[in-house]
């Protein structure tokens, strides 16, 4: 049985008929065609699927598409505006905050909210703020640098 959902994704309204068991991550990737959010574990640990739901970061592998009905979603594809990278994207690029890039869309989305909540985070606050996002490549250090740099830019 399918259910109709109305959502706003990266600023665009859309309506879809979805199976009630369809995960939000599969809806985004396969119905909407947004391949930015990734599936790394399907148990809400790794955070590669992180998106913003009404401005708050959520793991889209731990939500059903129907739970997003009537809500506003931003994925990594929605971060840049008018061809301008978001300061968080720019910071990850400048600070070498990524290697294989698979965790990156989730890291960027979490960072966006982290520096919004805490415009001047300490290293420790950053590391705890990122505990819902796993990275196997970077050892996190350049990610921490990137978050600090993005915070300075947004705050400054």
């Amino acid at each position: 049985m399918k259910t109709q959902i109305n959502v706003c994704i990266n600023g665009q309204e859309r309506t879809d008929e979805v199976e009630s068991r369809l995960l939000l991550i599969h809806y985004l990737r396969e119905v909407v065609g947004l391949k930015g959010p990734h599936i790394g574990c399907e148990t809400s640990i790794c955070g590669a699927c992180t998106v913003a739901l009404n401005g708050k970061t959520v793991k889209s592998c731990a939500l059903l598409a129907v739970q997003a009905d009537g809500q506003d979603i931003v994925t990594v594809e929605g971060l840049a505006t008018d061809g301008q990278l978001h300061p968080v994207q720019e910071a990850f690029w400048n600070e070498h905050g990524l290697q294989c890039g698979f965790c990156t869309p989730g890291m960027l989305m979490t960072t966006r909210e982290l520096i919004e909540r805490n415009p001047d985070p300490t290293d420790e606050e950053i590391r705890h703020g990122l505990e819902g996002n796993l990275c196997r490549c970077t050892g996190y250090q350049h990610i921490v640098n990137a978050v600090k740099s993005a915070a300075a830019k947004v705050g400054g």
Partner: protein, 778 residues
């Protein structure tokens, strides 16, 4: 036509250029295997064994086949005509069980593929997995390698009841004499536990069959697209030139994607069977079950030394947990460990015995460092044990035994030749940077206060830049093609297959400097067997040292041709090419690379005895490995009430030869250290005594999170490698190799006054707390 190549005089090698890969990765527009969509895509899902050892009495696929949306179900009998999962290693007494793509009449580990279900929808495929009824008759299993070696242990493979998969012996010098002359002999059993490589992108494959021209296109998350193509053609019985393998964006590998996995070949087989494209991607649970694990060593060390600390000889027995089947390079892991046993030390007497053991577990194989972390962990722990025994400072003991700078190239008793190095200098630099003597004083003060502070040192030498071809079943060369397009842009096709290393950036830096063109006029492509000439791939810290050298040599060949064309256009026989222009040395007249390129492709005339076009290909075979080295120092404190370890400082001083991009080198060190530290403190693949995998999700397997990894200070010395013209060595695995002994040495040091000499990894709070409570006696 307007040409785009600009003059450039700034050198890029050595500069922290931000990565050219990143724009697609930070905008969510990169294409990983799971992102590939093809019309009519079907989805495969694998039925796996819940038993470590069982006979298959029957498989009933009817319910699954009748499930709406299911297209096909395949079991072992459907694929028994296909080739086996390959093992590429040969050893004199290597036993290789036939490793079918799907289990035939028995299963050998939890997660063993038994059947595969295909549907037009991924959810339906997953549903149908549960509808395949397999009747198992479980038999006794054996999970621990030392138990598997005991008489009467269940045989993993009936034809080899001793469970011995292979043995290997290597020695150098005179071990009996060394031990006879020793004043002191220290012994330890040292375990390097099984680890999950855990690339963030799970393995996956998309296969598409074109029945018209009978060609197969396979997209796979692999580090070795060309080798995968050869192997897969063999398994499927398909002519290799009908098979195209593409490694698209690959989300990490760490060695675990240097294989032909059963599921990769099955996906291709199904695509050919049903005539539709097929996608198969592992869940994380299946990734833990059925992607190779790393390490899995139990090692017995004996180190002989004189009273003054002179190390004389090392005797080691290595027990390698193979799992139930070999994967591509499994038997090479412990034999590579053997080559690294002496570490940076100059003693000449080494004796090594290896036994590979079949167990009812997933196979072990390459994981970052691949045999080298185990050996380094062993020797760097033993040096500490010896220092404690002799009551010598571990820095002093190391320096006393290091190979001196004057001895390079240095032939080790294990038959390899270290290329260049200054081990004393790098350890002294680390000691000075960290403030070692001050830390020792702080430690004394801490102990007076009842605090458990430790200082851990690890030095390492690494065999990397794989490598001369005799060392690899794949060939150890690498290739590059450099083409100057008619409009002047530069296309580089490399045979390496980077998946996070940033080689598109470093290779662009190298090409920009060699050709003297703007970096934005260079594109580096890789990973597609139909566009890249041929290649070996990315593993063993080889990209820059081997692939980068092929690139340099291809460009140097091309430059001669550029000058030939330049001479024609300038009507001079005395021209020089540099910085994007060819200059007549007599008149000073110039012609740009773009003008030369256009002429080379479109004519109308060409120089005598010169082919049209500016394109050159080089296949470079390295004459030796390269040998990076370094010294890492860790300061830690153990909480006596909880057993938790807090790392207050982590200093990594590495020498990876000439540095192309310091930003990327730091990134490799950080990531490597986090993995070695993960092994030291957190990670362990656990099978229980019934052979069940306990650590089957990230909820159970402690992959380090950001707050679990300390800030890592990096520094370097730079000793060029004489092995290649770039002078580079490699840095992909160094951090992982150094970190586990550095961390463990610091924690053992924190507890040394309680009599603790060794603790096996991971150093869980429970393990440490018990030691503290028992006053150090394990």
């Amino acid at each position: 036509m307007e040409t785009t190549v600009t003059k450039k005089t700034e050198r890029l090698i050595g500069k922290p250029i931000r990565r050219r890969e990143d724009p697609r990765l930070i905008t969510g527009t990169a294409t990983y295997v799971e992102d590939i969509e093809l019309p009519g895509m079907h989805y495969a899902a694998v039925v796996r064994s819940p038993h470590p050892a069982a006979d298959i009495k029957g498989i009933d696929t009817r319910a699954a086949e009748q499930h709406p949306g299911v297209v096909a179900v395949y079991t072992g009998k459907d694929i028994d005509h296909l080739g086996a999962v390959p093992c590429g290693i040969s050893l004199p007494d290597l036993r290789i069980p036939h490793h079918h793509l799907l289990a035939q009449d028995r299963v050998y580990y939890v997660g063993h593929p038994v059947a595969v279900v295909v549907a037009g929808d991924r959810y339906i495929a997953a549903d149908a997995v549960d509808l395949v009824e397999v009747e198992y008759e479980p038999t006794d299993s054996v999970s621990e390698p030392e138990e598997a070696l005991e008489a009467g242990a269940p045989a993993v493979h009936a034809e080899w009841p001793d469970n011995v998969a292979f043995t290997h012996h290597q020695e150098g010098g005179d071990i009996e004499k060394a031990f006879a002359e020793a004043d002191v002999i220290v012994k330890e059993r040292i375990v390097s536990q099984r680890l999950a490589p855990s690339a963030m992108e799970p393995r996956g494959t998309v296969a598409s069959w074109n029945s018209g021209d009978e060609t197969l296109t396979v997209y796979s998350s692999t580090q070795i697209p060309h080798i995968l193509r050869t192997l897969m053609a063999g398994v499927l019985g398909l002519p290799e030139h009908k098979l195209r393998v593409i490694a698209p964006e690959v989300g990490g590998g760490f060695g675990s994607k240097c294989e032909l996995y059963p599921e990769e070949a099955l996906t291709a087989f199904i695509a050919m069977k049903i005539g539709k494209p097929v996608k198969w991607v592992l869940t994380r649970r299946d990734e833990f079950l059925a992607t190779i694990h790393g390490r899995g060593h139990i090692d017995y060390y004996e180190l002989a030394a004189k009273k003054d600390g002179t190390m004389l000889g090392l005797r080691v027995k290595i027990i390698q947990d193979v799992g139930s089947f070999h994967m591509l390079l499994t038997p090479a892991m412990p034999t590579l460990s053997v080559l690294m046993l002496p570490g940076l030390y100059r003693f000449k007497n080494v004796h090594a015995d290896v036994v590979g053991v079949f167990t009812h577990r997933m196979a072990t194989d390459l994981y970052r460092g691949a045999g080298r972390p185990e050996a380094t962990h062993g020797i760097e722990r033993m040096v500490e044990v010896l220092a404690a025994e002799l009551k010598m400072d571990p820095v002093e003991l190391r320096i006393k035994n290091f190979v001196p700078p004057s001895d390079f190239p240095y032939d080790t008793p294990m038959g390899v030749s270290y290329d260049s190095g200054n081990y004393k200098a790098i350890l002294e630099k680390a000691v000075e940077t960290v403030g070692y003597s001050q830390l020792r004083q702080e430690q004394q003060e801490a102990r007076r206060q009842g605090r458990l502070m430790g200082i851990g040192i690890a030095t390492y030498g690494e065999i990397c830049a794989f490598g001369p071809s005799p060392a690899l079943p794949t060939g150890g060369w690498e290739s590059a093609t450099v083409k100057i397009e008619p409009s002047g842009q530069v296309t580089v096709m490399t045979g390496v297959s980077p998946h996070g290393q940033g080689s598109q950036t470093t290779f662009s830096q190298i090409a920009a400097d060699e050709l003297g063109v703007d970096i934005d006029d260079i594109v580096v492509t890789h990973g597609d067997t139909s566009t890249v000439q041929h290649g070996v791939g990315t593993f063993g810290s080889r990209n820059t040292a081997v692939g980068g050298t092929a690139l340099v040599l291809a460009i140097r060949e091309l430059k001669e041709k550029i000058e030939t064309y330049g001479a024609m256009l300038l009507e001079s026989d005395d021209v020089t090419y540099g910085a994007g222009v060819c200059t007549c040395n007599k008149t000073g007249k110039t012609v740009t690379l773009g003008e030369i390129a256009m002429t080379s492709w479109t004519g109308p005339t060409y120089p005598a005895n010169t082919q049209p076009g500016l394109v050159a290909t080089n296949y470079w075979e390295p004459p030796n490995f390269a040998f990076p080295f370094g010294a890492h120092i860790v300061v830690s404190e153990v909480d006596p009430d909880t057993g938790e370890v807090a790392i207050s400082r982590y200093l990594a001083v590495d020498d990876c030869g000439k540095v192309i991009n310091p930003l990327l080198v730091d990134g490799q060190v950080h990531g490597g250290v986090a993995q070695g530290l993960g092994q030291a403190l957190y990670e362990q693949v656990v099978y229980d005594d019934t052979g069940q995998l306990v650590t089957g999700e990230y909820m159970d397997y402690a992959l380090p999170k950001a707050a679990m990894v300390p800030t890592i200070e990096t520094d370097r010395t730079e000793t060029p490698s004489p092995v290649n013209p770039l002078g580079v060595k490699g840095v992909g695995e160094a951090g992982t190799i150094a970190a586990s002994p550095a961390v463990v040495n610091s924690v053992v040091d924190a507890l040394s006054h309680l009599g603790v000499r060794h603790i096996d990894m991971p150093l869980t709070p429970e393990k440490i707390w018990k030691l503290v409570q028992q006053g150090g006696s394990a």
